[in-house]
Symmetry: C2
Subunit: 206 residues, 2 copies
């Protein structure tokens, strides 16, 4: 960490030297913190390391966000990018929603970056009950409710929640306990097997 105070442009992802408290320093800290929590999990991330990586004084993080827990609460993201899911499903005919969502979820199973992020997030949730509940709330508001809004059916929120149970279980069984039937099965086949479940939850008779 240098001590240079040369002004940095917003385009520069990793500025040299301690940043002054400016309009986008807060966002810069949030970006770094999000990466640290994602890669290391909540328990192994430290304000000191985040501060060093962001080239700011740890006190500035406290000033902007408060405690580590409050920082986490503000920057944590659901295990999938909500926009990706919502945008991908927006143009899909209702009777193909199950298959399209199954494709999205099964596609994530073989993505090592996603796997690491999901594992870190689940570790954090399992170790910190209050954070787990907060995470559930975040998933509800950023994924399930927007998904529910797209459904032209009865009981959209219940449908989105049931959908979450199947997709979550698929990822946990594949990613965490690594059931070998799942790790070995052909991806097209897995999509075809799970799609009818998702389709029924999303648009079928309940």
């Amino acid at each position: 960490m240098g001590d240079a105070t040369t002004p940095t442009s917003p385009q520069q992802p990793k500025p040299i030297g301690r940043r002054p408290g400016s309009v986008d320093t807060r966002g810069h800290i949030a970006t770094i913190a999000r990466r640290h929590f994602g890669e290391r999990g909540y328990d192994n991330a430290t304000l000191r390391a985040i501060a060093a990586d962001a080239d700011v004084d740890p006190a500035l993080i406290t000033h902007y966000f408060g405690t580590k827990r409050q920082l986490f609460a503000e920057v944590v993201e659901p295990p999938v990018d909500p926009d990706t899911i919502i945008t991908a499903l927006a143009e899909v005919p209702p009777d193909e929603l199950g298959e399209r969502l199954a494709e999205l979820v099964v596609g994530l199973l073989d993505d090592p970056t996603y796997g690491a992020t999901f594992t870190a997030l689940l570790r954090t949730a399992a170790n910190n009950p209050d954070i787990a509940v907060m995470l559930g709330d975040r998933i509800k508001h950023s994924i399930l409710l927007p998904l529910a809004e797209q459904l032209d059916t009865d009981r959209p929120q219940l449908r989105a929640t049931l959908t979450a149970t199947q997709t979550l279980g698929l990822v946990v069984a594949h990613q965490i306990i690594q059931l070998d039937t799942l790790t070995h099965i052909d991806r097209r086949e897995l999509i075809a097997l799970v799609a009818p479940t998702l389709q029924r939850y999303l648009t079928g008779p309940l």
Copy 2:
């Protein structure tokens, strides 16, 4: 911890004094260890505390089981008692298997003891990737394969695995991230919603 060396009968659950290395001391240690791992999770359980609770010298645990990891590997149990599941499903007509299994799983959701055990186990799995894989293997051999053996269908192992993804997801969504739609929904209704998914995985056309 006393030092009495009075012989203890196998019926006595918590003997007084250090136990000599006898035929059932190993089983006694395993029982205590299983409880410690279940209640505290792998990371918070210690050989010292298990030894104290079992009234044996820590060296005796090492002698019988090796490392803490090896002890865990030997005594860990799947998140549900396999016999309970297998026995409960043994007498059920094939076309009612989905509903009966849904009843069993939903019944566990409101059991605080089960909730604590499941959370501790998931915490252990999330924090220790190799243990997670071992746990998956245990689940496969003690629940999924016996369940598959009961199914008079094609591809029984795949069916049991798909069933595991839905039940696991239901428990994680309810127990860990506590989606409020799941915590509030009427239990009979939740059973009716999930049963068709399990029925299709167990006996339906894939």
